[in-house]
């Protein structure tokens, strides 16, 4: 990856030299700006299917917009202490835009990078993390994309279809986004008159145990953005399927494997595109302080999935209007894409 991206500017440089140095370089993108090589740093907290998709989406959007930058992809390997190290490397390399995927990286970047635009991607609570003071515009050199799920809408939908009275929620105590989602869920449950049961885990090896404890205490479980939990999803699915209780997941990618009664959430690739959108606005000359925090609000940002096998086993009838809205249906263990 690194080698290929380093190769492109080298190639362009060669073309430039051989063309005599006066003509404009023929570029791959039509509007490509090749007078000055743009350098973009993208750092994520850990290698993870969802975060990799975000990274891919960001890169693709920038490419589609006609830019052809050099990338410095970094990865903190799950060790939050290295976030500051990556920030200082980007400062030294003088990247044009530093993209931070996940909250700890975003905070470390905002903390130490002061004169390079910082774009955060997939931060669930940017105000709580102190990255911005308002969603209307960025703050100083920082702006980005918020991946908060419409919790209220999702839980209302889940209750409407399944008729649950007690909602279960399992989350990892060391993931900031899950902790901030808990507060929203608590508020929504009080509003809807649902009882809430909560279990916390510390590592993916505890998921099975937490699920076993949870399954008898709730009618259905809500899974929010939680990297640790999703890496052990099969364990939870197994427990809930045997107990014939529905699972609501916000992650489409894992839900496509079957086992989750329903899934409603955004495609991680599209959140990457949204992050890329913010980056491109900066590359085109806008100041981060003027760019509002991008939310996933468009209807086509979201996808809906139903597992009809699970619906049958849980004895739930899904209203036809929701079935019509679904992007994916799983029937007899086979996934069909409708839209």
């Amino acid at each position: 990856m690194k080698k290929t991206v380093m190769f492109i500017p080298a190639l362009l440089l060669n073309v430039f030299l051989f063309a005599g140095g006066t003509k404009e370089t023929p570029a791959t993108g039509s509007k490509a700006n090749t007078q000055k090589t743009i350098k973009i740093g993208i750092a994520k907290i850990v290698t993870h299917p969802a975060l990799d998709e975000v990274e891919r989406g960001t890169v693709d959007y920038i490419k589609q917009a006609g830019f052809n930058p050099v990338y410095d992809m970094q990865n903190a390997n799950g060790d939050v202490n290295t976030a500051a190290q990556i920030a200082s490397q980007y400062k030294q390399e003088k990247v044009d835009v530093a993209v931070a995927i996940a909250t700890p990286i975003a905070i470390a970047f905002a903390n130490s990078i002061k004169n390079i635009p910082v774009v955060f991607g997939t931060v669930t609570d940017p105000i709580g993390a102190g990255l911005v003071s308002t969603y209307d515009h960025g703050e100083g050199n920082v702006t980005g994309m918020c991946d908060a799920n419409p919790t209220e809408q999702q839980i209302t939908l889940f209750r409407e279809i399944t008729g649950i009275k007690t909602l279960g929620y399992i989350y990892t105590s060391k993931e900031a986004s899950s902790v901030s989602t808990l507060k929203q869920i608590e508020a929504v449950c009080t509003k809807l008159g649902l009882k809430l049961e909560v279990q916390t885990i510390q590592s993916s090896s505890e998921v099975k145990q937490a699920a076993e404890t949870m399954v008898n205490r709730c009618d259905g479980i809500y899974l929010s953005t939680d990297n640790t939990l999703f890496s052990a999803l099969p364990a939870l699915v197994d427990v809930f399927n045997r107990a014939k209780k529905p699972i609501f997941s916000i992650d489409l990618t894992t839900a496509k494997n079957g086992g989750c009664f329903m899934a409603h959430g955004f495609n991680w690739y599209k959140t990457g595109l949204a992050t890329g959108e913010v980056v491109v606005r900066i590359l085109k000359g806008e100041k981060p302080a003027q760019i509002p925090v991008r939310f996933m609000t468009k209807n086509d940002d979201f996808e809906l999935l139903f597992d009809l096998d699970q619906a049958k086993s849980c004895g739930i009838t899904i209203p036809q209007k929701y079935l019509d809205q679904a992007n994916y249906l799983i029937e007899n263990r086979k996934l069909t894409t409708k839209k």
């Binding site: 290698t47 470390a108 102190g130 060391k174």
Partner: protein, 317 residues
């Protein structure tokens, strides 16, 4: 980049000083550091969000580390649980404690809260805008770490410090001097963890957040730094030994920076960094001729009932 290496080298150097006290001076394999390091960060976060002055917060963080040390040494001496396991137990318990300290939040951001570091950065930006504000941090850390190192060196020259030095090498000698080795060891473990917690608090200020997950791999990085230092500078003099701890820490951070920045030239990505770290430690161990089997055996056997040689065969009941 050089500022980054120096800042990180010094911040984590404080933790490596703690690791040095426990692993080298006391010959005590203490994994508590993986828990006391984030504990320092968490205490700092809790204090700062409560509006306490930053310096007081740092002192409390140090005190928190001391308490963690007391727990580990009590588990070791009173319950006679092997040092490696005692440390792992405290570290595990500290995870929950740390979450409580931060009111069950996983990550507390300091972007809107003034810290010692953000104060220095702001001052540097207004007073000397032509120099990178990082140099202000470097200067502050050099002064802080120099004071800490000075105090430690003085401590090791006192009678008590010398006894502590003797304890790791020959426990029987300490006993025959009429000193209770358990007390000496406890104080050493406390200081080591206090230093780790202080280092965690500094790291949190530098990162801009406190995170409960920040303790992962801290002991390993500390040991690697320690061994790199020992590899570079061979000496029996305590002043040089503490100095080489700091040098080792800077080298370790420098290597990490280097791997991250230039690793791609030999086809290494940032995903391979952990492998490099591991290989580095193995290399250092191999070069410094540590016998791995005796090392593991020594730290997984039950400690003696009271005041006997740790490694002495036969007197372990």
């Amino acid at each position: 980049m050089i500022q980054g290496i120096l800042i990180e080298g010094l911040i984590y150097g404080i933790m490596v000083l703690g690791v040095f006290m426990e692993f080298r001076i006391l010959n005590f394999c203490d994994m508590t550091v993986d828990g006391s390091f984030p504990m320092g960060a968490c205490i700092l976060a809790a204090c700062l969000t409560a509006g306490l002055p930053p310096l007081f917060a740092l002192l409390l963080a140090f005190a928190g580390g001391l308490i963690a040390g007391v727990i580990t040494s009590l588990i070791y001496t009173r319950l006679r649980i092997p040092d490696l396991l005692a440390g792992i137990l405290t570290m595990t318990m500290l995870y929950s404690v740390n979450l409580r300290i931060m009111s069950n939040k996983a990550n507390v951001s300091f972007l809107k809260i003034p810290t010692v570091f953000s104060g220095i950065t702001k001052y540097m930006e207004t007073a000397v805008p032509q120099i990178s504000s990082d140099w202000g941090l470097v200067l502050f850390l050099i002064l802080t770490v120099a004071v800490l190192k000075g105090i430690l060196d003085l401590f090791f020259h006192t009678d008590f410090g010398l006894t502590m030095g003797a304890l790791g090498a020959n426990e029987q000698m300490v006993v025959s001097q009429g000193v209770n080795p358990q007390t000496v060891r406890m104080i050493g473990i406390c200081l080591g963890n206090g230093l780790a917690a202080l280092s965690g608090a500094f790291a949190a200020m530098y990162n801009g957040f406190a995170d409960v997950g920040s303790g992962t791999g801290v002991v390993v990085s500390g040991l690697a730094s320690l061994m790199l230092g020992e590899f570079v500078l061979r000496s029996n003099h305590i002043g040089l030994q503490t100095l080489r701890v700091l040098i080792g820490s800077a080298i370790y951070r420098g290597l990490m920076f280097f791997g991250r920045s230039y690793g791609y030239k030999v086809g290494l990505t940032s995903n391979d960094l952990k492998l490099i770290t591991g290989l580095l430690i193995i290399l250092c161990l191999a070069l410094s001729n540590v016998n791995l089997f005796t090392f593991i055996k020594e730290h997984t056997t039950r400690p003696p009932k009271s005041g006997c040689c740790k490694t002495g065969a036969g007197d372990v009941s």
